[in-house]
């Protein structure tokens, strides 16, 4: 099926485009980008005037819970959520049951994603067996089966020696090690940011240092081993300073941030103890959130991810201290960025495209997608004026535990193309299965 998108505002800093163009897609690739393109016979014309067309969005940090916790999310329902949110690619974290620590588990995910026939799923393998932090997982086997990167996300690798071994071993494959930075002897029973929030609500604190100390350690291990390092879900101003310093030294260090750490803070947790605001790492201070916004805008933070963490109602509808950590994010990520940063002109469209499409492909060593002839037709079309109400019914995700329930957001993906196939049509997921 061929498509001619007419009159879209195309934005792609990789090819210095920020203007109105027509784009012709056929045979899975972009065939032409130009003005007043003629419609070939059989091509479907799409009126894209007033909309933005960008390289397909990538979320390189999601939890699809499949296998093991299919009651929260499956690769199929997660793919629907990703597509609804405007994404062409997601990278799935390995803390499933069993943990994704062998090639067979990686292959399982790729096969399920193929059956779902929506977005590209890029599985991330575990660094250590069962994420126990004790012995190397079969990293080479997973590379052969298609693992995009490696991480023990959900835990920090507690032993510095073990993390060194992991990074040395990963470095031979030209892949990145992704670090969930958490020193467990400091975070212990912490369920909320240590400081104002832990004092006010009377619960064990999760101190910023518990994250920053391991960021510092892993940057030093990056220096020692040469293994590219990506810091997951950075949440503190000081952690960001450490990453900035590492980049200034020329180290292969990158980092990511989540919308909830940009647009919420510990002060939003009121004495209703709304468990949808319970995260790991926790919502930090307002000053941290402001520093992270600045870092994302100036490029010190490379990319935006959601840490999409689905949980069933009974795992959230309970007391804060026993509620599960995390919020879903795939379907609110782009609208939050457009509403809070791009709409108010605190961030340019070009920078948005870098953070949500270009940088994550670079970090995961994926083939780039550019708005030029010959590139894969993985594209996202965005209506910057459409408004959504964030209600449980809005979500394609199997779980509804969003920290942003009740918000009204402006700007949303209307259409998504993956390898030239239309997976989202006017906001409706259009799975064609295979």
């Amino acid at each position: 099926m061929a498509f001619l998108l007419r009159g879209a505002h195309v934005v792609d800093p990789q090819v210095a485009l920020d203007c109105v163009r027509d784009v012709l897609i056929d045979e899975g690739r972009i065939q032409a980008v130009g003005e007043d393109l003629a419609r070939p016979a059989g091509a479907e014309a799409i009126d894209a005037r007033g909309k933005y067309l960008v390289p397909g969005l990538v979320d390189m940090h999601v939890h699809f819970r499949d296998p093991g916790f299919e009651y929260k999310e499956t690769i199929e329902t997660g793919s629907r959520a990703a597509t609804h949110g405007g994404f062409t690619d997601v990278a799935t974290m390995p803390n499933t049951d069993p943990v994704s620590d062998t090639g067979a588990e990686i292959r399982y995910q790729i096969d399920r994603a193929h059956e779902a026939g929506l977005c590209h799923v890029r599985p991330i393998g575990a660094l250590t067996r069962a994420e126990k932090g004790e012995s190397l997982a079969e990293i080479g086997d997973m590379v052969v089966e298609g693992a995009a990167a490696f991480s023990d996300d959900g835990h920090g690798v507690q032993g510095a020696g073990m993390m060194r071994t992991c990074m040395e071993y990963v470095s031979q494959f030209g892949r990145v090690a992704i670090a969930h930075c958490e020193v467990e002897s400091l975070t212990a029973h912490g369920v909320i940011n240590e400081g104002r929030a832990s004092t006010r609500l009377g619960m064990f604190g999760w101190p910023a240092l518990g994250e920053e100390l391991e960021i510092y350690r892993d940057i030093e291990l990056c220096k020692l081993t040469g293994c590219p390092l990506h810091i997951a879900h950075i949440s503190t101003a000081r952690g960001l300073e450490l990453v900035r310093a590492a980049k200034a030294e020329g180290l292969p260090v990158t980092c990511e941030v989540c919308p909830h750490h940009l647009f919420l803070c510990e002060d939003d947790i009121t004495d209703t103890y709304d468990t949808n605001l319970k995260m790991n790492p926790p919502l930090r201070s307002a000053a941290d959130a402001a520093a992270l916004v600045e870092g994302l805008v100036d490029g010190s933070i490379d990319c935006l991810v959601t840490d999409h963490a689905p949980h069933a109602p009974h795992e959230k509808n309970c007391e804060w201290e026993i509620a599960f950590f995390g919020t879903i994010g795939l379907e609110t990520s782009l609208p939050l960025m457009l509403t809070n940063l791009v709409g108010p002109q605190k961030m340019s469209w070009s920078r948005l495209v870098e953070a949500m499409a270009v940088a994550p492909r670079e970090i995961l060593r994926l083939e780039p997608v550019r708005l030029e002839a010959g590139s894969a037709a993985d594209l996202t079309l965005i209506d910057p004026t459409a408004t959504i109400e964030v209600t449980p019914d809005y979500f394609e995700s199997r779980s509804k535990n969003s920290a942003f329930l009740g918000c009204t957001l402006t700007g949303v993906a209307t259409d998504v193309f993956v390898n030239g196939r239309r997976t989202l049509t006017d906001g409706v997921v259009t799975s064609q299965g295979r």
């Binding site: 400081g195 104002r196 004092t199 009377g202 004495d271 209703t272 103890y273 009974h314 007391e319 201290e321």
Partner: protein, 311 residues
């Protein structure tokens, strides 16, 4: 009438709310001196004592208060409750609520539990202690005890000494004292200090001897002995030497100053036996006040006017 529907924390209480509760408690003190210690104030009202964490003192105090107000009450929790068999809090509350009750008294080891209960019932909820968060009736009985002694609360200097960071007493008493115009100082080893004293707007120090001579009230907190693990403090002996209240420290207190403790005491650790039993100690007066303020809080929250004795 109080400005709140529930008694969840002291942070939401106005000075007027606190004064009403203390005045009402005072009017009940006469009932407690009668041979027949009972008024019909809450006759026909149903109160559920939901104790999801063991508590002998607080539970007995609430139960006595309910009986003296002629309420019908039912106690649940402990080892036999379904809550410990894995039923969710929501299911527990909705099940009890379906039996039409007027009030929940809740003790829980998880912070925020009383708020969660409010989401599943229209009944009135009193927090009888939630995790490390708050214990508002404890704060009220402390205020009652201190006010009975000095005749007022404003301008008094109060030190809370001990395990501050794990203490729901600290979480509720500090805001209540500040609302009533008292000056609070927090004293404890750095490993027991609260993360953000600026939230309460009070000074925090590890040096008991530098502040004790200025205080009107020295309030000793219980050390949870299980906190000894993880080496927050090296030993009972060292704790007693640096932060325990012994007679040499008592001798340096102002002549009119008093000693409080929420109980149960670790004699020889945070407070020495002779100090606990000395003339300055108000520890048993606090226990007596507990029944009175709980009667007052239940009575006012269930719609009574400020004349409970004659009701």
């Amino acid at each position: 009438m109080l400005s709140v529907k529930h008694l969840i924390d002291t942070t939401s209480l106005t000075a007027d709310d606190i004064t009403q509760i203390l005045d009402t408690a005072r009017s009940f003190s006469e009932v407690n001196k009668r041979a027949i210690k009972k008024v019909p104030a809450l006759r026909g009202r149903t109160i559920v004592n939901l104790f999801l964490e063991p508590s002998t003192r607080t539970k007995s105090s609430f139960e006595l208060a309910e009986k003296r107000l002629s309420a019908d009450s039912l106690s649940m929790g402990g080892a036999t409750s379904s809550v410990v068999k894995g039923e969710s809090l929501a299911d527990t509350i909705e099940t009890i609520d379906a039996m039409s009750v007027d009030m929940f008294i809740c003790r829980a080891k998880l912070a925020g539990t009383p708020h969660k209960i409010c989401e599943h019932t229209d009944a009135v909820v009193i927090n009888a202690g939630d995790g490390k968060h708050q214990h508002p009736t404890q704060a009220l009985l402390d205020l009652y005890t201190i006010r009975e002694n000095f005749g007022h609360l404003d301008g008094l200097k109060v030190a809370l000494v001990g395990d501050l960071s794990h203490s729901r007493v600290c979480g509720s008493l500090v805001p209540a004292l500040k609302t009533m115009g008292a000056e609070v100082t927090l004293v404890g080893p750095p490993t027991f200090q609260i993360a953000d004293p600026d939230y309460f707007g009070v000074p925090q120090t590890s040096d008991l001897d530098s502040v004790i001579a200025d205080m009107d009230v020295v309030y000793m907190l219980r050390v949870q002995l299980e906190r000894m693990e993880g080496a927050a403090i090296p030993s009972r002996r060292e704790y007693n030497r640096l932060w325990g209240l012994d007679m040499s420290r008592v001798d340096r207190m102002r002549p009119e100053a008093i000693i409080c403790h929420p109980g149960p005491m670790n004699r020889g650790m945070e407070i020495n036996a002779d100090v606990a039993d000395c003339a300055r100690s108000r520890i048993l007066a606090q226990v007596n006040a507990g029944v009175l303020v709980r009667m007052a809080a239940m009575y006012l929250l269930l719609g009574g006017e400020n004349n409970g004795v004659s009701a």
